[in-house]
Amino acid sequence: MDMSLIESLRNALPLVSGFIYPNELELQWSILIVLYPYITGLVAGAFVLASLERVFNVKAIKPIYRLSLLVALAFLLVATLPLNLHLGHPERGISILMTPHTSSAMAMFGFVYLWYLMVVLLMEVWLDYRKQIVEWSRSETFWPKRIFYKVLTLGVDNISPRSLAIDEKLGKILTVVGLPSALLLHGYVGFIFGSLKANPWWSSPLMPIIFIFSAMASGIAAVMLIYMFLCWARDVVIDMPCLDTIGKFLLTAIIVAFSLEMLESLQTAYEAEEHFDIITLLVEGKLLVSMMLIQIMLGSLTPMFLLGLTQVVELPEKVRKVFYMLSGSLALIGIFAMRWNVVIGGQFFSKSLRGFTTYKMHLVGREGLFSAIIVELLPLVILAVLLYLLPPWEKESHSKSPTTAA
């Protein structure tokens, strides 16, 4: 055997306990695979928030409609990156689309992803911005930007009321189609895990549903925080009714997601199948901090308590803002921990159900901590570019009061 491999095994062995099979020593799905459901979840959540305005006519959140779409787009563009980085040969990732096999859940995800990106999200953003794009293509003075807008108009600068009405109608249809697509996109990620019947920690028909609701919570929390940050950065007053409404939806999403998770745990505990002992050990041992403390206490119960308070007690605006910020951040951390507990947690215990392996995260390298951080920050950079090219606030600036320039 290769000497360096033996050396690394020597380091790993003391961290292994009980009886595991030799091929389980190295944990294969790294932090990047944690990011994959996390990022797609943010996409789906942000999109659901946007569709609340469009499909369900929740007028209060109009100010963040476009922002949510851009957030969804920014994260969607990065969603497959962690998967590709995880491959030993990233350049071969494209084969999954070129020669797809219908029995491959991952290959089908590629098409779900493409459908959602091209037909739903890009189209919806474009239709919504088309009027402005045409106007900007006429008025923009900085020439590269003007050319960019010109290209985006596709050479048609017809913004007659009738054409805009068509856009509006089509946009609405797209959102109606988009909503199930967004749920499909993220439910599908849950499905990929839920259908792994070899692993009792994953294999559950509830998995897609739990993923969808936690996705909503994370997406809503992300848009809320980004909105608050942007208002602060641009020195604009936060639209409190809007923020309050987002808070309400965030609370709902967290409650549903958390209840579903607890129901599933309850069922596992009550059924107490042969894998229950190892799962108890897992939850009480290796996942104690990341699950009990971070996911449940900090990530679910605390935001539920804080957001619940804003509902039952009349709180001053300042306090509410702090509460929203806190619970949004905690929810994001908690949902990241949930993805971690699913993906990494599910690989800790052996198929023998009698032992545990361990996960040692690398710092650098393709699957290390640094690439994970870059993958996580990249969508924010993309979002900044999108905000520069397609500012979402142009439309509302006259109707709202963007007072007090500092």
Binding site: F19, I94, M98, T99, H101, L154, V156
Partner: protein
């Protein structure tokens, strides 16, 4: 219709993208893909062309008939020669220059113990001996013939 012209262009772009996709696909799908199944048929030849490491028992038989016939009658009959002697294609190609290693006398107990040492994780029916007790200090092949242990 005039007011939906921009949508017409979108459709054109989508059709162009689809055609582009199919075009790219026709280049990227490997030549012999799908001939035999959902894989590249040429991969079979590629694998055949790789250097071989294991020769397989029929090859050994030609020159080591004695060991082969001994083993065929013994409880080791289901084991391949190379599971004890290691990969030996190189030896088959040039028996004079590449000499296979045999377990040495002082390593014999550890060698046989790899499979026969007592362990809870082995099936209970598998013949196992306690290496500390079973004729301690003596090499296994003093009593058992490796090719005909019993």
């Amino acid at each position: 219709m005039k007011d939906a012209q921009h949508l017409l262009r979108v459709i054109i772009i989508f059709v162009a993208a689809l055609v582009g996709f199919l075009l790219v696909r026709s280049f990227l799908v490997p030549e012999s893909f799908g001939k035999l199944g959902h894989y590249r048929a040429n991969a079979v030849d590629d694998v055949l062309a790789l250097p071989r490491h294991y020769a397989g028992e029929p090859a050994c038989k030609k020159c080591h008939a004695q060991q082969a016939s001994d083993k065929a009658k013994s409880s080791h009959r289901h084991m391949s020669c190379e599971s004890c002697h290691g990969a030996l294609q190189a030896h088959v190609d040039s028996p004079k220059t590449v000499k296979p290693s045999k377990p040495k006398e002082n390593e014999m107990r550890a060698f046989c113990g790899n499979c026969h040492g007592k362990s809870l994780s082995r099936p209970a029916k598998f013949p196992q001996v306690d290496l500390e007790e079973h004729n301690r200090g003596m090499a296994c092949n003093q009593c058992h013939q490796p090719h005909q242990p019993k």
